[in-house]
């Protein structure tokens, strides 16, 4: 059946992660040639540790951006989730696993509220999550009384521990983050639910007319994203070893950066979660590599900014061509 199968090159060309992947590999090659320390298992493990929290937040962000939404509240929700987990375990005396579950549930609940406001009252996601950003930020500081929660029970920092992989120490948290990326790549690419998310992002009206329950789907996406933010909170807590009310304040924009660098369209309906992983790694590799080269950190910010504008330009131009 020659008509059915597209040829492999065609499929690759239509895959939006090819550009980001090339950029990532080019950056890796550049830093490998210009610094001695870059190309090592230990350094890569470090890069992954550095990007896993924002990367995990960016998974939720990808889901929402695929529906043509945006989430400005994810870093704040993560910070609150982290405080809930640590405070309940340390001050509340809850068993650690129960405290973690409570933190995850709280994050999912904030996602649910975002989703309900977006669907039931038809508010723009930008405004809903901007408001939620402030609400949750304030709640975090009120609930924590601006105190960092310390002396955590071991279960809360378990994911910060490492195991050996080919002579390199890898944290369990990095593994969790990678597995989450694979899980969502599967859900988006291989299940009907994933197809519906893309259809929704293409056009809510088309999706509704084909019988997809768009409101329920949207609420589900925001709730699921919230749950993923909860997992990011656990990764953050396990990495830093504390519950920090100041955490995650620029992570909302950093997660959007990762999504956009990964080739996902801000207009919704196109993109891949694996692209987001690549996007997060691009940011991590530039930060790490420039640091190793002794370039002042402000140049990392400069380059990230240029890359984001470049990525959005590519998206816009490719959309225009397809019209």
């Amino acid at each position: 059946m020659a008509v059915i199968e597209a040829t492999l090159p065609r499929r690759l060309l239509s895959t939006p992660v090819l550009g980001p992947l090339a950029a990532l590999l080019a950056a890796c090659a550049f830093f490998s040639l210009n610094t001695d320390q870059f190309l090592s298992g230990g350094n890569f493990s470090l890069i992954i540790q550095q990007v896993m929290v924002v990367g995990t937040l960016a998974i939720g962000q990808t889901l929402i951006i695929l529906t043509a939404g945006i989430d400005l509240s994810n870093g704040a929700i993560m910070a609150f989730g982290g405080i809930v987990m640590t405070k309940l375990a340390v001050d509340g005396g809850l068993p650690p696993l129960l405290a973690i579950a409570a933190g995850l549930a709280v994050c999912a609940a904030f996602g649910l509220v975002n989703g309900l406001l977006v669907t039931r009252i038809s508010l723009p996601p930008f405004i809903v999550t901007l408001g939620m950003l402030n609400v949750v930020f304030a709640l975090t500081h009120i609930y924590s009384q601006d105190q960092t929660v310390t002396e955590l029970p071991p279960a809360l920092t378990y994911l910060g521990q490492t195991f050996q992989l080919g002579g390199t120490n890898v944290t369990y948290g990095s593994l969790v983050a990678i597995l989450l990326f694979l899980l969502f790549a599967y859900l988006l690419g291989q299940t009907a639910w994933g197809r519906h998310v893309y259809a929704l992002g293409n056009s809510p009206e088309v999706a509704r007319l084909t019988g997809i329950r768009t409101q329920r789907l949207t609420v589900g996406v925001y709730t699921l994203a919230g749950l993923v933010y909860g997992i990011a909170a656990l990764l953050l807590v396990s990495r830093t070893g504390v519950g920090d009310p100041q955490a995650g304040q620029t992570d909302n924009l950093d997660s959007i950066t990762a999504v956009v660098l990964g080739g996902t369209s801000l207009f919704g309906g196109r993109g891949l979660v694996i692209g987001t992983l690549i996007g997060a790694l691009i940011v991590g590799v530039f930060r790490n590599g420039l640091q190793l080269m002794g370039v002042p950190s402000i140049y990392q910010t400069l380059i990230t900014g240029v890359l984001v504008i470049l990525a959005v330009t590519v998206d816009q131009l490719s959309r225009r061509r397809n019209r």
Binding site: V3, I4, E5, A6, R10, R195, I212, N322
Partner: protein
């Protein structure tokens, strides 16, 4: 006498002060292409929305194969085998053809892979899509290409093929050629013929009189919220039908008579 496939009696639909449907009747016979025409505000859209479950009538009844039915929503109408092709809301642009064909009705792999892991059976969906497209003689290079890479006519082809694939009773097409060029319109009209040849009745809403006259077996003329005439295109000229649509002529005992002399004069019919 044959039972109409889809029938409506005395439909009334009001939106506040506005009466969109004012006792409208509707009959669709097996295996025919029925064109629904009418001026703007005649209640065409409201009629179609009632027939496809998009709105619920305030009064009146619907009969499917002679049995009363009530559609809660478009999904409900689809479950009864009524599929609709919308003018420009047909397909999800970034998804491929096979995905669009099965959107909302995806097939999963047999066994635990599908049941537990919800894994899609992409191969089977592609194969069945290919079959449906071939049935309607829609030629495409690849079913894995995104719909946005197709021409307008091909996109409409995907939408028609999807509707036909799932419709067991009726295919409703709302202005399917409005956004298309001459050649592509011709392709869509050919598709409509093939659908009818397969025995599936088609309701065609169109403003395009030449298209209506080319393809319709019967014409339902909607005016002021009611059906004012049912006629065969062979028995009337295009200008006459337009005159009936605008109220210049009326049908009485099977013949058209001048109802509004000035209007009829204006279009040179009296």
């Amino acid at each position: 006498m044959t039972t109409p496939v889809l029938q409506a009696r005395g439909l009334v639909k009001r939106y506040g002060q506005v009466t969109a449907l004012d006792g409208a009747d509707f009959d669709l016979m097996p295996g025919e292409v029925l064109a629904v025409i009418g001026d703007n505000g005649a209640g065409k859209t409201s009629l179609i929305k009632v027939l496809t479950g998009a709105v619920q009538p305030d009064e009146g009844e619907l009969l499917l194969d002679g049995r009363p039915v009530r559609f809660r929503d478009p999904l409900d109408a689809r479950k009864h085998g009524i599929e609709t092709v919308y003018q420009d809301l047909a397909v999800a642009a970034s998804l491929d053809i096979a995905t669009n064909m099965f959107l909302g009705r995806e097939l999963r792999k047999p066994g635990p892979l599908g049941r537990i892991f919800r894994l899609l059976d992409k191969k089977r969906m592609r194969e069945e899509s290919a079959k449906h497209m071939a049935d309607l003689k829609i030629g495409l290079r690849s079913l894995t290409q995104a719909v946005e890479t197709l021409s307008g006519g091909q996109r409409q082809g995907v939408a028609v093929a999807r509707a036909v694939a799932w419709a067991s009773h009726v295919v409703v097409m709302d202005e399917p050629t409005a956004a298309l060029g001459v050649k592509e319109s011709g392709q869509v009209l050919d598709m409509i013929r093939r659908v009818r040849d397969r025995g599936l009745p088609v309701v065609l809403i169109s403003h395009n009189m030449p298209h209506v006259f080319e393809i319709a077996d019967r014409i339902h003329v909607q005016r002021l919220g009611r059906r004012v005439a049912q006629l065969k295109p062979a028995d009337y000229g295009m200008a006459e039908v337009v005159a009936i649509m605008t109220g210049a002529l009326q049908i009485e005992q099977g013949r058209s008579v001048v109802a509004d002399k000035d209007a009829a004069d204006a279009i040179g019919l009296s």
